[in-house]
């Protein structure tokens, strides 16, 4: 990242901070990337709208859910913004509590958020209010779990939805499938399981 774009990024982050003040945390800068945490989840759409229309962040490169199991609040949603003309990146975060697992949708601002939010809902169970079509996207309608939550076992759980799909537990054999590249023999390179020492 060039010095000019780092400068541009921190200027735009400062503009956003000046506009919204206490709604945003202090700017956390790391290796030329600026991150702001939004204190009030309900305002995320408003802040994103301003970032797009006034600061030129016209591209949402990614939107993802994160599970910090054991912390409070448990979840966060991360927005990666990018300005095609300014070539600046900006990261916004909202923290989401497990009891009130809802965030306003930003699909009206960036259409691409539609499927990203559906994925975050499908995998993490974070609901996006005012989303036009909040269905599961990878798993099927009726699947009862949110499989990317940290307390969901890797091997899965048994489910049954007649004529649609079923799932069974995968045989873990004592550990996940992990390869060890560089080993001379296939049985060492790709063991049936490798437990964490």
């Amino acid at each position: 990242m060039s010095d000019a774009s780092i400068e541009k990024t921190s200027k735009l982050a400062n503009d956003l901070k000046t506009k919204f003040g206490d709604l945003l945390s202090e700017i956390h800068e790391f290796r030329g990337e600026c991150t702001l945490v939004v204190n009030d989840n309900a305002k995320i759409a408003e802040i994103c709208n301003y970032a797009k229309s006034e600061l030129g962040f016209d591209c949402l490169t990614d939107l993802s859910g994160v599970d910090h199991l054991g912390e409070e609040p448990r979840f966060s949603v991360v927005y990666e913004l990018y300005g095609l003309t300014s070539k600046a990146y900006l990261r916004l975060k909202v923290l989401v509590e497990e009891e009130n697992c809802e965030v306003p949708s930003v699909t009206k601002i960036w259409k691409t958020a539609d499927w990203h939010e559906r994925e975050a809902y499908d995998m993490m169970g974070i609901r996006f209010t005012n989303h036009p079509d909040l269905r599961r996207i990878l798993m099927w309608e009726g699947y009862p779990y949110f499989p990317l939550r940290k307390d969901f076992p890797l091997e899965g759980k048994e489910t049954e939805l007649p004529d649609i799909a079923f799932t069974e537990k995968a045989p873990m054999e004592g550990g996940p499938f992990v390869t060890s590249p560089g080993q001379p023999h296939t049985t060492l390179r790709e063991p049936r399981a490798r437990t964490i020492e």
Partner: protein, 180 residues
């Protein structure tokens, strides 16, 4: 010397237009040399399946070049790739729609056992939902491996008693198979 005397093999002039054999043998011979595949391409194995179908490896040497994308017209389902639970019952339905007699090749580690995807979303081997005739190792297997599997399947087909294909499959023919 009369050129006809140099002929090696069957001579219609001498023996007449008659071949004596068994119905089983001749029908199985027809079948094994024109197994029309249903290409169930679900992941990267499908690329190797395509390679097996193109000129360098040329699956038509074994009479299986007619890839049919309709289950009604195919005999052999080649499951090439990772079968997710979301796809599993669709795969089962396509298998059910194929006319008897029908065979299945599980191509690659994922189709055979779930492979490296030991996780919540992947069916741990397609033999949980359909009966598999030949498993192919590899991730993905090279086209030669698929052709070898095809030749092995041809040997199986050649030995099949014909009567099997005239009866409806018994309910326990798929015993141990996850039928929902």
């Amino acid at each position: 010397m009369n050129p006809s005397q140099k002929e090696i093999g069957y001579n219609t002039k001498v023996e007449g237009d008659v071949i004596v054999t068994k119905v089983d043998a001749v029908l199985n011979w027809f079948r094994k040399n024109s197994l029309w595949p249903m290409p169930m391409g679900l992941a990267c194995c499908a690329i190797e399946l395509m390679a097996a179908g193109s000129s360098r490896f040329d699956i038509s040497r074994f009479g299986s070049e007619v890839m049919r994308f309709s289950p009604r017209q195919s005999d052999l389902m080649i499951v090439a790739g990772t079968v997710t639970y979301k796809m599993a019952l669709a795969l089962r339905r396509i298998y059910d729609q194929m006319a008897e007699p029908k065979w299945v090749i599980a191509m690659g580690a994922c189709a055979s056992t779930g492979g490296m995807y030991r996780s919540y979303s992947v069916l741990q081997g397609v033999d949980k939902i359909v009966p598999v005739n030949v498993y192919v190792a590899g991730c993905p297997p090279r086209p030669e491996a698929l052709l070898d599997a095809l030749m092995k399947l041809q040997k199986q087909v050649a030995k099949e008693p014909l009567i099997r294909t005239h009866k409806a499959p018994k309910p326990d023919a798929l015993s141990g198979v996850h039928v929902k």
